[in-house]
Every structure is written in structure tokens, then in C-alpha cells.
Symmetry: C2
């Protein structure tokens, strides 16, 4: 499996994964009525952000994006999002993407990585984030309207990337 | 002092407050190079969001905005931002705006209100949020590059608005 930066021509192959995961409604707070073009604008990052695809046998089986969590004086903290084709779940695509993105963020000089809204019932993702060293900083109660479980919490999760004493990436 | 929804013609009076507070660099992660028009797009909310101004003797002395913190399945949680003209600090403008916005969010049926990034050295704001019932859910360490204090934490803060047992506002 290859993981590489996505190009604009990858979007038609990413879109079915994006739309299936958003329609399932269990993990993301994207609006459910997004068009092909609106979703492209939200998922395909512009610099300094980057979007990647995981490709297996010529097929896009997963995607992720990385960028600053906030602009300006918060831009040394990264954030990232991940989507894996539901038909290949359990084969390590998510873990490979996550390791790639964390490595890429470290190489880019980000101080840390923050996830703003990890659905507390998404146990597969939570296990992966914990395995990679992320910890839960706090949980916003009843902040996600889950189609099966009703109102569930959203975790804020965090991984420090910078070595102790290493200066943060300059803001901006 | 009157607090009312802002109209487009209010932006030229809001802009000096916005630009002074962003230039000071102590409380927000907006980019510091925003133009008049770019800042207008970020501060003047579109429905279902709303931007308000506090007016005293015909002058805009503060402003705030309210809207869903996330779209889709997270849209029952509100977020808000506040700016007060530095020349009138300490006269209760911030508290009046905050009470107005919390009441407006409750009336609009939001389940709760979340602040995503309260700078931990912003003790005036913190005292006000605590007085209004907000609590700190967690703190992202070293997530804000403060011009005086260096890297400081960003608090995630939360206030429940819905009565126990009351259903959340439908998502969307």
C-alpha cells in the first residue's frame, strides 16, 4: 500500500468514501447534504495543509488530511482527519495513515497534534489514537448526535510531537 | 447601553476594536494580517449565527457573535466570541454581552455552549466565564503563542443550557 499526497484528480475516488462515512453519521460533524464540490473544498487541503490518499492495487482505500488546528498564534498545533473505505476496515489502513500523518506532522515541525472531536463511541479510532500515544484532555458531554446511541460525548485528544526543550514552530 | 444584532453598516465601527484586539495578540488565534474585508467575513455571522453590538452613547463599544460550534451532528452546541473596546475595559460591557449571548443561545434552543480556546492567561475572561457557570473541561498545553508569556494553554470551556431531560435541538 502506498500513501502519497492527493492530487485534484483523486477527488472522484475519495468522494465515495467521504460520502459513505458522512452518511453513516457515526464519526463526523460534516453537514449531511454536502455536494461533490462542497465536500471537495472541505477535504482537499490547501497549503500549509495537505491531503493524502492510501492506494492499494490502484484503488484509493483511505484518505487523511493534516494542517494547522488554528491560524495565527495557534498554528504550531496540528490537527488531522482520517477516513477509510468501510469495505477494507480492519486491515490496518487506518493505522498506516495515522502513522504517516503523525510522522509528517513531526517532520513539518509542528509542536503537537490535537483532535477536537473524537466521538466517544468510536472505539476503533480511540484504540488507535491511544496506541499512538494520544491522550484525552477532556470530553464535551452530549456534543454529538449519534444515530444509534443518541447524544454522546466528543473527546479532545492530544499528542505532543516536539522534543522537550525544542522550540515550537513559529506561528503564522 | 443597548445590545442589538449587528447590521452590515456596523462593520466599520467594529473593525477598529477587532483589529486592536487581534494586533495585541493576547486572546485570539486570528491571523494578524487580515484585511478589513477578510475580518468582516470572519466576524459578521450568517444565519443561523448572529453577531451583536453593544452601543453606548451612539458608539459601538463591544461586539459578540454566536452560532453552532460544529455543523451537522454537532450543531446543537453553540459557541461564541467576544470583543470589547480596550478603552472601556472594566465597565461591565463584557459581562453584559456575555449575559445577552448566553440568554440568546438558551432562547434559540441550544443544548450547551462550548468555548474551544480560552487563553489561560486571560484571567479577566476566565473570571467572567466561571461567574456565568462555565467550567473547564480540559486544557491544551502550550497551544497559544502569547507575545509576553510564550507558549500557554488553551482551555476548552463548557456551559450546559438545556434543562435536564429536555431534548436537544435537532441537528442540522
Amino acid at each position: 500500500m502506498e500513501i502519497r499526497p492527493a492530487v485534484e484528480d483523486d477527488w472522484p475516488a475519495i468522494w465515495p468514501i467521504f460520502s459513505a462515512i458522512v452518511a453513516a453519521g457515526e464519526t463526523y460533524t460534516y453537514p449531511e447534504s454536502l455536494t461533490f464540490e462542497q465536500a471537495r473544498g472541505l477535504w482537499m487541503e490547501q497549503p500549509p495543509g495537505v491531503t493524502v490518499v492510501a492506494v492499494h492495487d490502484g484503488l484509493v482505500v483511505g484518505t487523511a488530511k493534516l494542517g494547522p488546528n488554528r491560524p495565527g498564534r495557534g498554528s504550531h498545533v496540528a490537527t488531522a482527519s482520517f477516513m477509510v473505505d468501510p469495505s477494507v476496515h480492519g486491515r490496518g489502513v487506518g493505522r498506516s495513515l495515522a502513522e504517516h500523518i503523525v510522522g509528517r506532522a513531526r517532520d513539518a515541525g509542528y509542536h503537537s497534534m490535537q483532535f477536537n472531536a473524537v466521538v466517544e463511541t468510536n472505539t476503533g479510532a480511540l484504540s488507535l489514537w491511544h496506541a499512538l500515544g494520544f491522550r484525552i484532555l477532556g470530553t464535551v458531554p452530549e456534543a454529538f448526535d449519534h444515530p444509534v446511541h443518541g447524544l454522546v460525548g466528543l473527546h479532545v485528544m492530544y499528542l505532543r510531537l516536539a522534543d522537550p526543550g525544542r522550540p515550537a514552530r513559529p506561528a503564522g
